[in-house]
């Protein structure tokens, strides 16, 4: 279970950034108003039905309608509207253009995440996880590859739809480090329910090092390998040792299986022959916190389970269950994937 990112207190009322914090204040005011007005109506009903005769007489005429049904709501709603419009305006201030940009694409049923450099070029591809530094405004370019999805991290901001043929922009900012859950909020077919992601907010230094690690992986993989043998024997960091793993799981064997059994047709691993674009990019899969779009913690057991039987975990998702592979082979693949950081 990925427990840290969801749960009590309600994320909408537990803001982790300036944008959501303003909405939280508004929310509390609205709830207070709601409770107050419900109370007024209940008391008015009580007076109307059981109240003292002179109270009833006061309530039993058109004047009560003008006061309770016109004047009071008129004043309150006008005040609320002004607050709402002002807040809407401040939350939708034009984007400056020099913010850090991440492109998030909704797909059935996961999120493709592309980190953009200042020129707008993709510098790194990930999935179902968004890493941002604290106290830094980030602009998300939201797109859809198929149907309408909606991007929502309640701790950080309201939601925004991902619409085919359009690019919507959402600005988020966090003021404390932590991991926050996100989901697709717009019904997008079968597995809409299990389409989640995690927003990870780092202290600036930690974010830098997280990014540097990812870029290192890419740099080391920059030369496409003609033969798999060139990649592993020479690379002590990547090749598993007996001490690190049970001897039956062999990442090298896993690599072969990955290429042979069809994984590579849908998944990409930078620098390898695996160039499929239909599914999530696996170049950094071992660095992720979750599997299956925010639904399983990421370790060898869940990895094996997911590859072997993803259709039981998330029925109807686009990845077939590789139940024809033996448990041992699944272990090899998992061992290989665990090296992809």
């Amino acid at each position: 279970m990925i427990e840290a990112v969801w749960g009590w207190p309600p994320p909408v009322l537990d803001p982790a950034g300036p944008y959501s914090a303003q909405v939280t204040t508004l929310s509390w005011a609205l709830f207070a108003l709601g409770v107050f007005v419900t109370g007024v109506v209940v008391v008015a009903l009580w007076v109307a039905i059981k109240g003292p005769p002179n109270w009833k007489a006061n309530l039993g005429g058109e004047r009560a309608i003008w006061i309770g049904g016109v004047a009071f709501p008129g004043v309150v709603l006008t005040a609320l509207l002004i607050w709402g419009l002002t807040l809407t305006a401040s939350l939708t201030e034009p984007i400056r253009g020099d913010e850090m940009r991440i492109r998030v694409t909704g797909e059935m049923w996961w999120f493709r995440v592309e980190y953009l450099d200042p020129d707008g070029a993709v510098m790194m591809v990930d999935a179902n996880e968004i890493h941002i530094p604290v106290d830094t405004p980030v602009v998300l370019e939201l797109e859809s590859a198929d149907v309408i999805h909606s991007f929502w991290v309640p701790h950080l901001s309201g939601k925004k739809d991902m619409i085919p043929g359009r690019r919507t922009l959402l600005r988020i900012e966090a003021d404390r480090a932590g991991e926050f859950g996100g989901v697709c909020a717009e019904y997008c077919g079968g597995q809409h329910a299990l389409m989640g992601f995690i927003a990870v907010v780092h202290e600036p230094a930690a974010w830098q090092s997280w990014l540097a690690d990812r870029m290192d992986t890419l740099a080391n993989a920059a030369e496409p390998v003609a033969q798999e043998s060139q990649r592993y024997p020479g690379d002590a960091d990547l090749y598993p040792t007996e001490a690190e793993y049970l001897e039956r799981y062999d990442a090298r064997r896993g690599y072969d299986l990955f290429m042979e059994t069809g994984c590579a047709a849908c998944h990409r691993i930078a620098g390898s022959e695996a160039n499929g674009l239909a599914g999530p990019d696996l170049t950094h899969i071992a660095s992720r916190r979750s599997l299956g779009a925010g639904i399983l913690p990421n370790h060898r057991g869940t990895l094996i389970g997911w590859i072997g039987d993803s259709q039981s975990i998330k029925p109807g998702n686009r990845m077939p269950s590789y139940d024809r592979l033996s448990a041992e082979d699944l272990g090899h693949i998992a061992a290989f994937l665990e090296l992809q950081k």
Partner: protein, 845 residues
């Protein structure tokens, strides 16, 4: 008082007249009796049709409620497997769709058909066969639609069916087609009912029932029906567009070819938000009447309440995009729609305080209806308040599409419609049941439903703020959602227990009757509590106040003694009194058709037509379509006959004409309403064309040459002149001019329209534009499809007119059938002119 029609109000002083012979009652009974045995199904009396309608709608309420229980079991704990993902998605789609389209709207319409004639003291609604058609179309279509669930082919795209999820690429099976064709078809039934209600409320009120003496429910139904006429065309158009996109690949919503998925959202919500008020307004009308009875005093703030209903209707058409705040709307639009959403809660506030003030000015009697009425005020207020919250744009960004919304909409709809409906069941069941329901059980029903409602939906506000989106078949453990969901599930069963208790009590005590009913159990003051038979009241009373039974204690006996209008059948046929729209002055006696199997046949085969389309059985669909059209023509054939008797005495020595023609006739009013419906479909079609141009102007290409455009416009203009001329020729009264030429002129008009359409289509094809090419092609050709539909109807009408002339049943100088045909063809010509001009001059050139 100034007269509206020239009717002398002094004549009202003649009433009540002397007692009339009892033999007239026997004659009325004989004329209005319903067929027996299985032929009972061909009955058209509102007592029967209204009752069947209510029962069917309630059946769908139970069915959709059972689906909800299934969903609550699935969600009681995380990661359960009670319903699979596919079944769950079909369940929630059907729950929403059935509750909105097969329960809520038909139910309020059914209550209208059941209560309105008696409330207005009309003998029946003005077009009884149209009510029967509306009911049977709904019954057959709705049942078949629901059956799709049992074969696993039920729609699964959510009740608002957003493309591209519902486009052929992502929903290749026929589930979606069931929704599009099924719902599109049921809308036709709703519109038929709405036309009936508009004309009924405006033209069949008892004399003296001026607009400001009308019962609140009649006001509510008038606003309701007008809203249906304006809003439903939009959903009919968008279901047509999506079905055509799915079947023929016309890319209205396909962003890769110059379409736009957002077009659906605009069209759908332009219908979808008014829909909520369409459901709420009639229920509010019922509430206003029941509050007054419950408190045993007159309604406080009648005029304010009417104003609130009308204002709600208006404003509700300006709030649709508040369902789209998260789609990256421009700031100004968001502000406008937010302000409108705030504004629409003002009339709701007025109504709530009208009810509270009325309760305060009277003395409440704690009957079952009273409990439901008071409970409804509380629940509806709570739903309204969360509505204000989500009307605030920044809060909506958080709450949108979560369980907070699920809670909000259930509070609004249960408080605003379901509770008033149960109150109304108790309040009015004495009209149709020979035995009264149990008051003791009724209080339990209320108690269980009221507590169950809060246990179910109050925690959902929190579930939503916890981050649980709506429409999820399951959720992950460890998110602190387990307990809240379990509470909701328990509440759902508590509420269901209340409904079950009601059903059991109905089975034990409710016995349908039209004669010896249990009567006015709660002492209401309006006309539906006059003594009635199948012919409604013996005589049609003169109305002098808003609560006639309270103000004139002897009225019931006077009415039963025939001392008011139309105490007998003046012509020996079914008839009712048509009065003027504002002052309700007697204008003429309308003859009404009796029982017939043809409306039933038309409805069944129309349903068959749409179902066959869904399963792609095209030859059978064509067969059904032809039978449906022939049935409709056959049902009309018996109407609008020449009659010898020209005037009738309606009591007090007052003579009025029988079955008039022209702009005062009820048929003319109905046709105008229908033209608004078709005109709205065309208007939304033009909107779609301009909208896609605004989004994707780059796919727009140049129109065909100007000369051709001028030719087409000329033909359409001539068609208009010919249609109008035919009617003028009929008025010349004599010779060939009045016999053959009129229908020939109409035939010429439709010929010109068909020709114009042919040139329009071929002209566009010659420019290289194809409907499958891009958004422009799709919308341009769609407008021509809309035009082709009305031209086809016009051709059938012209042929029907010719046939009537050949059989010698055309009256001169004026004739209702002629009026209807000529006006409709004239309308087609105008629509053609607009479509041609829009697509060829703007903005393509």
């Amino acid at each position: 008082m100034k007269s509206e029609t020239g009717f002398d109000h002094a004549l009202y002083e003649r009433f009540p007249t002397d007692k009339r012979p009892d033999s007239e009652v026997d004659a009325l009974n004989e004329i209005w009796k319903a067929p027996t045995g299985w032929r009972r199904l061909t009955a058209v009396n509102n007592n029967y049709v209204g009752f069947w309608y209510v029962v069917t709608a309630f059946g769908f309420f139970l069915a959709a409620g059972i689906l909800a229980l299934g969903m609550r079991v699935q969600l009681a704990a995380p990661m359960q497997d009670f319903l699979g993902v596919d079944t769950y998605n079909q369940f929630f789609t059907m729950h929403g769709t059935v509750m909105m389209f097969l329960f809520a709207v038909p139910m309020v319409e059914a209550i209208g058909i059941m209560l309105l004639p008696q409330m207005l003291a009309a003998r029946d609604l003005p077009f009884p066969r149209l009510s029967a058609f509306a009911f049977w179309a709904y019954f057959v279509g709705g049942t078949m639609f629901f059956m799709s669930l049992f074969v696993g082919l039920a729609p699964d795209g959510g009740w608002f069916m957003y493309p591209p999820l519902t486009s052929i690429a992502f929903s290749p099976d026929i589930n979606t087609d069931f929704w599009l064709l099924g719902i599109g078809f049921i809308e036709i039934s709703a519109i038929a009912g709405a036309i009936e209600i508009i004309v009924g409320v405006l033209r069949t009120r008892a004399p003296g029932m001026t607009l400001d003496k009308m019962p609140m429910f009649a006001w509510a139904m008038l606003v309701f029906a007008v809203m249906i006429v304006v809003a439903f065309p939009s959903v009919i158009l968008c279901t047509m567009l999506l079905e055509i996109e799915r079947a023929f690949n016309w890319p209205f919503f396909d962003a890769t070819r110059g379409g736009d998925p957002m077009l659906w959202q605009h069209l759908f919500w332009f219908f979808g938000h008014p829909e909520v008020y369409i459901i709420f307004i009639p229920a509010a009308g019922l509430m206003s009447m029941m509050v007054s009875t419950v408190a045993r005093t007159k309604l406080i703030g009648y005029r304010l309440n009417v104003l609130a209903l009308v204002a709600t209707g208006f404003i509700s058409f300006g709030v649709w995009a508040h369902h789209m705040f998260t789609t990256d709307m421009p700031r100004v639009s968001a502000g406008y729609f937010s302000a409108a959403s705030m504004a629409v809660s003002l009339p709701a506030g007025i109504q709530v305080f009208c009810w509270i003030a009325t309760l305060a000015s009277g003395t409440i009697k704690w009957t079952t209806p009273a409990l439901f009425v008071v409970g409804s005020v509380v629940v509806f207020t709570m739903g309204g308040l969360t509505g204000v919250m989500v009307g605030m744009v920044p809060f909506d960004w958080q709450a949108h599409d979560t369980y907070f919304i699920v809670a909000h909409l259930h509070y609004v709809l249960i408080g605003g419609m379901v509770f008033p409906m149960f109150a109304a069941f108790y309040h009015w069941h004495g009209m149709t049941s020979s035995k009264a329901l149990s008051e003791r059980v009724g209080k339990w029903v209320f108690g269980l439903m009221f507590t169950g409602l809060h246990i179910t939906f109050l925690p959902m506000h929190l579930t939503g703020l916890m981050g649980m989106p709506r429409r999820v078949y399951t959720y992950l453990p460890g998110r602190d959602l387990d307990l809240l969901n379990m509470i909701s599930t328990i509440g759902a069963f508590v509420m269901a227990a209340g409904v079950l208790l009601f059903v059991i009590d109905c089975a034990r005590r409710f016995r349908f009757t039209v004669h010896d009913d249990a009567g006015n159990l709660y002492n209401g003051g309006t006309l539906e509590w006059l003594p009635t038979g199948l012919y409604s009241t013996r005589s049609i009373p003169l109305v002098r106040s808003r609560d006639p039974l309270w103000d004139q204690p002897g009225l019931s006996q006077e009415v039963a003694d025939g001392r008011y209008f139309l105490p007998n059948s003046a012509t020996g046929q079914r008839e009712t009194l048509i009065t003027s729209p504002v002052m309700a002055e007697p204008q003429y006696v309308q003859l009404m058709p009796g029982p017939s199997a043809w409306p039933v046949s038309a409805a069944v085969f129309t349903a068959g037509f749409f179902l066959s389309l869904t399963v792609q059985a095209y030859p059978f669909a064509i067969f059904c379509g032809i039978v449906a059209v022939l049935s409709t023509l056959r049902w009309l054939w018996e109407t609008d006959r020449p009659i010898k008797q020209e005037t009738a005495e309606i009591g007090g020595g007052i003579e009025v004409p029988i079955a008039i023609t022209g702009s005062s006739s009820h048929g003319w009013w109905a046709l105008n309403t229908l033209m608004v419906v078709i005109g709205m479909i065309g208007f939304m079609g033009v909107f779609a064309y301009l909208y896609l141009y605004g989004i994707n102007p780059e796919v727009w290409s140049a129109p065909p040459p100007l000369g051709q455009t001028v030719l087409i416009l000329t033909m359409e203009g001539l068609a208009f002149v010919a249609a109008w001329g035919g009617r003028r020729l009929l008025a010349t009264k004599e010779g060939r001019l009045a016999e053959d030429l009129p229908w020939m002129m109409e035939a010429l008009a439709v010929g010109l329209l068909a020709g114009a359409l042919y040139f329009d289509i071929t002209g566009w094809l010659e420019t290289g534009l194809a409907p499958t090419m891009n958004g422009m092609g799709a919308t341009v050709f769609m407008l021509m499809v809309l035009q082709a539909q009305v031209v086809t109807v016009a051709i059938i009408m012209a042929a029907y007119l010719a046939f009537r002339e050949a059989r010698g049943i055309m009256t001169t100088p004026t004739n209702v059938t002629m009026d209807v045909v000529a006006r409709f063809i004239g309308f087609c010509a105008l629509q053609g002119l607009v479509f041609t001009a829009v697509t060829r001059f703007f903005p393509g050139g």
